[in-house]
Symmetry: C2
Subunit: 205 residues, 2 copies
């Protein structure tokens, strides 16, 4: 039985992750102490650190799952045909926002963003940034798809415009998670208002 060690390891990994996400959601990221997570997972504090580099690493697993799912959903949206730019873009953005609180709370998002800014050289930050870039690219891809179907004007720089729009989407998402009183609908409304002039201008005549 040489797989004993590997099996135990996988089991503990799962138990720790489970305990962490449970506690993060129940008492919040900050109040969930490593000691508590370790205890709930039935291991010692030291063992926790054998399995995860640090507390923030636990978040990245969740962030990653969240963004991967939304990227897949986004690809499906891009593949479909769309009447106009507004419909297509706001469906994509709406999907991003609607999905955002599935696995993560606002507090967890804040922590993840905060960490990715504070320590840019860590693997955490680099993974976070890479996900951001893939989302940004997806908006560019949408514009390009629309352009090739004649929905977007031919003389538009889809990359420049896509990045501009996504950076606004992202910045507004930061405002959203900073404000416990703001709901997803309010967020969508704001972003639609801000993007409207650009969308109108880039639409084919």
């Amino acid at each position: 039985m040489s797989g004993l060690r590997a099996q135990k390891k996988a089991d503990k990994n799962r138990r720790i992750l489970e305990a962490a996400t449970t506690l993060f959601r129940k008492v919040g990221y900050d109040s969930a102490r490593i000691e508590d997570i370790a205890e709930m997972a039935g291991v010692s504090v030291g063992t926790f650190y054998n399995y995860f580099k640090n507390k923030g690493d636990m978040l990245m697993a969740t962030v990653s799952m969240e963004v991967e799912e939304v990227l897949a959903a986004g690809d499906a949206i891009i593949a479909r045909e769309h009447e106009d730019v507004a419909t297509a873009l706001f469906e994509l953005i709406g999907k991003y926002y609607d999905h955002s609180l599935t696995y993560l709370s606002k507090e967890m998002w804040r922590t993840a963003m905060s960490l990715s800014i504070a320590q840019p050289e860590t693997p955490f930050s680099q993974r976070y940034t890479a996900l951001d870039h893939r989302l940004s690219k997806q908006v560019c891809d949408l514009f390009e798809a629309l352009q090739s179907r004649g929905v977007v004007r031919k003389d538009i720089d889809c990359t420049a415009t896509g990045e501009l729009v996504f950076n606004n989407v992202n910045m507004m998402f930061i405002e959203f998670v900073k404000d416990e009183d703001m709901d997803v609908d309010g967020l969508k409304q704001e972003v639609e208002r801000q993007s409207q002039p650009l969308v109108w201008m880039m639409s084919a005549a």
Copy 2:
């Protein structure tokens, strides 16, 4: 001599602030320990906390100074006449970026941003957010000034467009401070490229 206490207080305030900014610049924000700051200022750790709510509070004084100055410079730019949208906008944005590292290092910016996201309910975050909004408003103001002078098309929503552009400016600034290798010129180039299509479209015929 009833002003003795007040004078001592002002003196200590100054000494602590001086020690903190000196150390932040010399060894970085994270490595500057409260104990060191207190020692350099000739007070105890406890006294430090009598004068400042926490370590982050020391940063806000600097961030505030930085942004206030750049806002004033921005107003001066808006007051002047401009040939076209691109010149005006990129002069304003250029000013923001050029000024940004005068008092703060990239690391200090990262810490400030990180704090403002992580703990949105604190005075720190609220002051930071308020400064951001004033900057955003300034870009809107520039567009409105240009519009009233016939440089920007009459049918443009200056608020929506200004917010969109500023959020891109801000998000790119985050990327800038996250990347120690990126210089101000590179940052400006990127933002100009991203903003170009929008600027072109909003320009009066």
